[in-house]
């Protein structure tokens, strides 16, 4: 986990030495026996394998909901995941709680005790590490269908993923950017990548022995209203990092911002470029298992149930029109708190309706706007990736690290102090997202001109500058049932 981290496969001996330290972080680490774990994984049915599920969905032309779920106790978890299974949700997310994420396992223990005594819910997720392989396997074995997939944290991923995979989880949110860029204040990008390499290498170890665990690549989740360019570029960078460590199955995640043409363009362009860059850099044997779309959770959902259903149904619509295999769905309780089982169930009932009705029609949308957005997005993503590879001398890890320092990749509103925070995004008159400030993003002049025109049009329409005020207005728009944040007239 050195700061001089490179995109280079960790040597197996070295990896095994690192493992010892990782497993020693908490007693449940001892439950992990890699050989036994690999056998366990091999015996899992296809219906619990992330990659196989994705491939089947693709063949059948279906879209399913990708939930956000995680609850503190094993009993509640079993009940919750069975409900999800009933709701035909085959991807079973295990969101861990915030103590686990900070390696505060003692606090977790206390909270579990307290909940047992008083019934009061304290933890905001599943304490995977405290429950250990034994606990997690009970959950994996409690359903017939569904690939489990943990959400952990920079600090807790190494041990967490050991326990996860040994428990039969077959997918994982695997990119370093999400933790570093959206959950951390002081962490260093080099350290973050280094920390994630451990998990990637662990997956590589499984892969070398015939077990394919799939990596969701969320990229740098960009906070607030801004184009997903940097996000999509980093999902591809992440796939390249994972591939180098031996990962054989990745997912292209696309974060959506609400303009149909732009969202569909991103859905089309992202997996295509991911394939191209993987192939070009020697990772042609890495499978892109499927695509996962979601309205990036970086603005608040409507609090009212009507608006919440509309927004989440809209996510389902865009996912289905984009023909993605899975669509990450925010429950109707998103703005209110961790959803109840009933809220989960109602949410999937609703989005499944959309998935079925839209996909069944086999709609091929053709709009000239999609083609325009696709071209712009492709130019942008290529410009950024190529620049990163250039400054990294062909090494994507080095490129990303330098890129952060130089603001070649940048985001507004990031909690991480390392981030330049020189870019600003706003919506254009049709609700597509444009840069009002480019910071140091290496975008081609033609592309910048395109953004400038669209932003100028918006400024004229609103009669205000495209600035921080506007980005905040736009940030709240969907929450208020509007496409664009309207200026408040005095």
């Amino acid at each position: 986990m050195a700061p001089n981290v490179k995109n280079q496969k960790i040597d197996e001996g070295e990896f095994l030495r690192m493992r010892e330290k990782v497993l020693a972080q908490w007693p449940t680490g001892k439950e992990v026996d890699l050989d036994e774990a690999i056998e366990y994984q091999k015996k899992l049915p296809d219906s619990k394998n992330y990659l196989k599920i994705m491939q089947k969905l693709h063949e059948e032309g279906r879209t399913v909901a990708y939930p956000r779920a995680g609850t503190a106790t094993i009993e509640d978890s079993i009940s919750l995941y069975r409900k999800l299974e009933e709701s035909q949700v085959p991807f079973l997310l295990v969101t861990t709680d915030s103590y686990t994420r900070q390696l505060e396992f003692k606090k977790v223990e206390a909270a579990i005790e307290e909940t047992k005594k008083t019934g009061k819910k304290i933890l905001n997720g599943f304490p995977l590490i405290n429950h250990g392989v034994k606990g997690m396997r009970q959950i994996v074995e409690s359903v017939n269908t569904g690939a489990f997939n943990p959400r952990i944290s920079l600090k807790a991923y190494p041990l967490g993923s050991e326990i996860a995979f040994a428990s039969g989880m077959t997918g994982v949110s695997a990119g370093p950017f999400i933790s570093w860029g959206a959950y951390e204040k002081n962490s260093d990008i080099a350290e973050a990548i280094g920390a994630y390499q451990y998990m990637h290498r662990l997956i590589g170890y499984y892969a070398d022995r015939g077990v394919k665990i799939t990596c969701d690549n969320h990229g740098w989740i960009l906070t607030g209203v801004q184009p997903m360019t940097v996000n999509l570029a980093t999902t591809i960078a992440e796939a390249m990092m994972e591939a180098e460590q031996g990962v054989k199955s990745v997912v292209s995640c696309i974060h959506l911002m609400g303009n149909l043409a732009q969202d569909l363009a991103w859905i089309r362009v992202a997996p295509r470029l991911m394939r191209e860059y993987l192939d070009r850099y020697g990772y042609a044997d890495v499978i892109i298992a499927g695509t996962l779309a979601q309205h990036t959770p970086l603005f608040p959902m409507p609090q009212g149930m009507g608006g919440a259903f509309a927004y989440t149904d809209y996510s389902a619509l865009v996912g289905a029109l984009g023909k993605v295999e899975a669509c990450s769905i925010r429950s109707i309780d998103e703005a209110l708190g961790i959803p109840t089982e009933e809220s989960h169930q109602l949410t999937y009932e609703s989005v499944n309706w959309f998935f079925n009705v839209i996909r069944g029609q086999k709609i091929d949308l053709e709009m000239k706007e999609i083609a325009i957005e696709e071209r712009i997005a492709e130019l942008e993503i290529r410009a950024i990736l190529d620049k990163l590879l250039e400054i990294g001398d062909g090494d994507i890890v080095v490129g990303c690290i330098k890129g952060v320092h130089l603001g070649i990749i940048d985001s507004s509103f990031s909690p991480n102090k390392q981030v330049k925070d020189k870019v600003i995004g706003v919506k254009d008159c049709r609700g597509a997202i444009r840069y009002a400030e480019f910071g140091n993003l290496p975008l081609p002049e033609e592309v910048k001109e395109f953004h400038r025109e669209k932003v100028a049009e918006r400024e004229r329409a609103d009669g205000t500058k495209a600035d921080y005020e506007m980005t905040i207005r736009d940030f709240w728009a969907f929450n208020k049932g509007q496409l664009i944040g309207k200026p408040v007239r005095a």
Binding site: S98, Y99, R101, N124, T223, G337, F413, S414, P415, K417
Partner: protein, 140 residues
């Protein structure tokens, strides 16, 4: 008139930054001197910063649902540190699951907070409250 100083940040292990960022900026624009601690801020750091900057108020955020655990005993620590007179505000989603704003308000007032703000708070109004409270204390 001296600018009043306020501390902002997201308490405990919470990483939700947007609320506290927007709040900090709004406070600055409203004429406050803002010490912005950002996310993942332990309660001790709030206290340290308040002492160092002789702050008039602490405005904490929490969205991730575990605020109660994070701030239990915080008021007492403030008193110990001689910060009896510093206003304590907290806002966000103050527990796990669907909330009753009234219940949250009572709970966190018992824990020593002067004001408690639900999600979607209109920041202009909250800052108005802050001015009023500071005035009542004779600080502005």
């Amino acid at each position: 008139m001296k600018k009043p100083t306020v501390i902002t940040g997201t308490v405990g292990n919470d990483a939700h930054v947007i609320g506290t960022k927007i709040l900090s900026r709004a406070l600055r624009e409203a004429g406050f001197n803002v010490v912005e601690l950002g996310i993942l801020t332990p309660t001790d750091e709030f206290i340290k910063a308040a002492i160092e900057t002789d702050a008039d108020a602490i405005l904490m955020s929490s969205l991730y649902g575990m605020a109660e655990l994070d701030v239990t005993g915080f008021k007492e620590k403030c008193i110990e540190a001689g910060l009896d007179d510093v206003l304590l505000y907290i806002g966000g989603i103050l527990g796990v699951g669907r909330r009753d704003a009234k219940e949250d308000e009572e709970k966190f007032k018992k824990l020593g907070f002067d004001r408690v703000f639900p999600p979607e708070t209109e920041l202009k109004l909250a800052i108005g409250d802050l001015w009023a409270d500071l005035k009542a204390k004779g600080k502005v």
